[in-house]
Structure formats: C-alpha cells, structure tokens
Symmetry: none
Subunit: 118 residues, 4 copies
Amino acid sequence: MEFKKEQSIYLQIVDFVHENILSGKFEEGEKITSVREMAGEIGVNPNTVMRSYTHLQEADIIYNKRGIGFFVAKDAAKNIKKNLRHHFLKKELPQIIKKMKMLEIDMAEIEKIYEKTT
Amino acid sequence: MEFKKEQSIYLQIVDFVHENILSGKFEEGEKITSVREMAGEIGVNPNTVMRSYTHLQEADIIYNKRGIGFFVAKDAAKNIKKNLRHHFLKKELPQIIKKMKMLEIDMAEIEKIYEKTT
Amino acid sequence: MEFKKEQSIYLQIVDFVHENILSGKFEEGEKITSVREMAGEIGVNPNTVMRSYTHLQEADIIYNKRGIGFFVAKDAAKNIKKNLRHHFLKKELPQIIKKMKMLEIDMAEIEKIYEKTT
Amino acid sequence: MEFKKEQSIYLQIVDFVHENILSGKFEEGEKITSVREMAGEIGVNPNTVMRSYTHLQEADIIYNKRGIGFFVAKDAAKNIKKNLRHHFLKKELPQIIKKMKMLEIDMAEIEKIYEKTT
DNA sequence: GTGGTCTAGACCACC
DNA sequence: GTGGTCTAGACCACA
C-alpha cells in the first residue's frame, strides 16, 4: 500500500478502514483484519495499525472482543457516512468555496471536471 | 488572529499575505507590513513571520530591500492566482470530487450552498 | 451474560461463582455447573471457564473429582466472605476514600445513595 | 515516581496531571511540563508521556500550541472534577455498594475508617 | 492466536 | 527548544 506524505500513515489507515466498511468489505458485526495481519499486508509497523484501530474504537466504529480481535460496530457505515458528510459540508466546503471565489473559479468549470471523472 | 491546528502557522501567514495581495490591500511595488509589526499584530514569533516572508520571496511574490522591508513583486497578484488555480484544479479538486462521490453528495447540493454564500 | 471490558473475563466468571455460592445457589458439597455447560450458558470459550475454575480451586473454594466435576468446598462461603472482606477493607476502601476526598464527596451523599439502593 | 502494576502507566500519568490541575499546581492557561521533561522527571519513555498528553488533549483538559508546548485548557479543573464525580457516582459507587451488601459490610464500618483517615 | 503497553531510538516539521 | 510520527522489538495477560 502506498501512503501520501501529507497525511500521517495512521490516519490513512483509518480512512482505509472507513472505505472498507462503506464498501461492505467489512460487514457489521464481523471481525476485521487483525492488527498484525493488517500490518503485514500494508507493510507497516503493528504499533501504527494499533494506533489506527484505537482511534476507530474511540469513535465507536469498531469494538474489541478480548483476545479475539476487532469487530465492526453497529451502524458503523451509517455513522461514518454521517460524520464525514457533516465534516465535509460544514468544515471543508466553506473553505473550498471561499478559495474558489478568491481565484474566480466558477461552478461551470467544476461541473465540467466533475462530469469527466464520473 | 486565529490559527487552525491542521496547518502550520507559517503557511497560514503565507495565505494571509496572498489574500491581501489579491484583494488589493497590498499593492504591487508597495511595502508590506514589516516582520516585527506583523508578528505583533497576529501574536506570533517574528521568526515564524520571517519564514513566511522567505517562502513568499522564493516564490517571487515579494522581494526584499535590505534595511527597508519587503515589497510586493511585479505581477504578484497574477502569479499567485495562476499558481493557486493550477494547484486547486490539479491537486485539490480531484480529491474533493472523489470524496463527494464516496459520500454521495451531488453537484446540486454544492451549487445550492455556493449560491447561498455569494 | 455481559462482560465489562475493564476486567478480564475469567475474573468476572470467578466473581459470578462467588456470588452464586454466597447466595446459596451453589451449596457446600454440591456439584457446580460443568465447564462446558457454563461456557455454553455465558457464551464463552470453555478454556476461559476452565481457567476460572482452576483459579477457584487454588483458592480452596471448589475442588475437583476427576471425571465427575467441580464441587463446592467446605466452608467455601465463609472463606470467600473473609477473603473478600479483607481485600475490600484493606485494599479497595483506602483508595475509594482518597478519591472521595479529592472529589469532595462526603459520607452523607454516599449514605443517601446507599439507603436508596437498599 | 512509583507506578502501580494494576493500571497502565500512561493512565497513571493522566491521573497525575489531573491532580496537579486540581491542586492548582498547573494553572489554567499556563504551560505544563513538556513531554521530554516530564518523561525525565518520572523516569519513563517520552512516548508514554506523549500518549498521556494526547489522551488529555482529546478530553479537552489541555491543548497544544505548535512548537511551544501543552497548556491547561479553560475550565479544565472544573471539567475534571465534574467528569470524575460523575464516573464515581454512576459507575463505581453502585458496584461498591453491591459488594458491600454481598459482604454484609454496613455504613457504620465505613464511616469509622473514613473518620480515621481524615 | 489476540490486543495492550512500554522502551529505545530515530527523523521530521515547526516555533 | 517543542510536539508528532514511525519503526523495531520486547513482554504481558488473555481467549
């Protein structure tokens, strides 16, 4: 797995798990890849994966059964989507729009690119 | 001035100068706020402002007259706009669109908010 | 059966047996629930129950007849009570009191709740 | 500094900072001991202290100024006390009372010890 | 096998 | 100097 240098690895792993849950690869109530296994697969230290999993656990996206592993929490997909949507619309979008106006980029240009990447 | 913790302070100062140039507050050929004065105004260590100014200087947005101060370079506004436009369209936008699709946010929603903030 | 994540499962099972003996559900000299049956009832791996029973056996609370099962030892209830009382008064209570003083919670508050839960 | 083996060191450091804030040793808005310095003082790896501080930061007890250090957040003492009181009264006390009743320890005994440790 | 914690040491960006 | 992240490796309790 390739990581971008702009964001810390452990947060990229968090996003990776998000995507796996949203896509249905990790289903509600099912066990996700163990810390060590994930670390091996993506070529990263187990501590780093552990940090990501702990982060997800505190956000109630996954939970832990002692000695068994981490499991996808109830309504995880729903909550992830809700949280990300809220963050995007309230935090990111205003800044994006502000920047667009500053740079005099209008919606027509955006839409053109949007259609192209569909 | 309030700083976001997600981005380094010196880059937020760079953006602040960008905005001032684009808005015409700092005009071409004119002297901009001195390092010390700026540091005092926004409550930051002068070293940090110096770093921002050095960064802007390397991008040919401002230039320095020794012992006098920093001045807005020729075509600064034009160049800022060109650089930021390019970065926005090529680097940021693709990621924004990818995220929009994952969260099932369509252009109609964006446009609605865009109009509202006009 | 629901388990708290703060304490290990096998110790929670130990407490569960303690309570059953103190309440008289498991009587002196009688056979207690078998390892497999207990594991099935509370939804846990038999190894985990075995560990709890071994622990209880080492504390002379239960004893084993090979091929038959585990039985409540002589004076089990009396010994449990003695051990737990000692541990509570010498180890737990001092820390509880220390915390109460730090949080400015006085005995009147405690007593009020104590009466309510009688 | 001595640590108990029953609880993880990083949580004991969290408690240690709690106490320092409650006692007024770390005052609101003031900088607390830096990660490295704290690590040296209590004889622990800086990573462990970092973990404690991150934990406290997520609980809005302290906050970070980039490159400068960690500072005590607004109303930190008030919030710590509120959280700890709530946790004690709602989570710990019911279990304590349950155990007391099981062991037939009455309030008179507790009060006697409470007075003695004043 | 699982997670959880800790150490030692490194490198980085930032102030 | 500050925090932030990551690696490597170890040890532990637990299922």
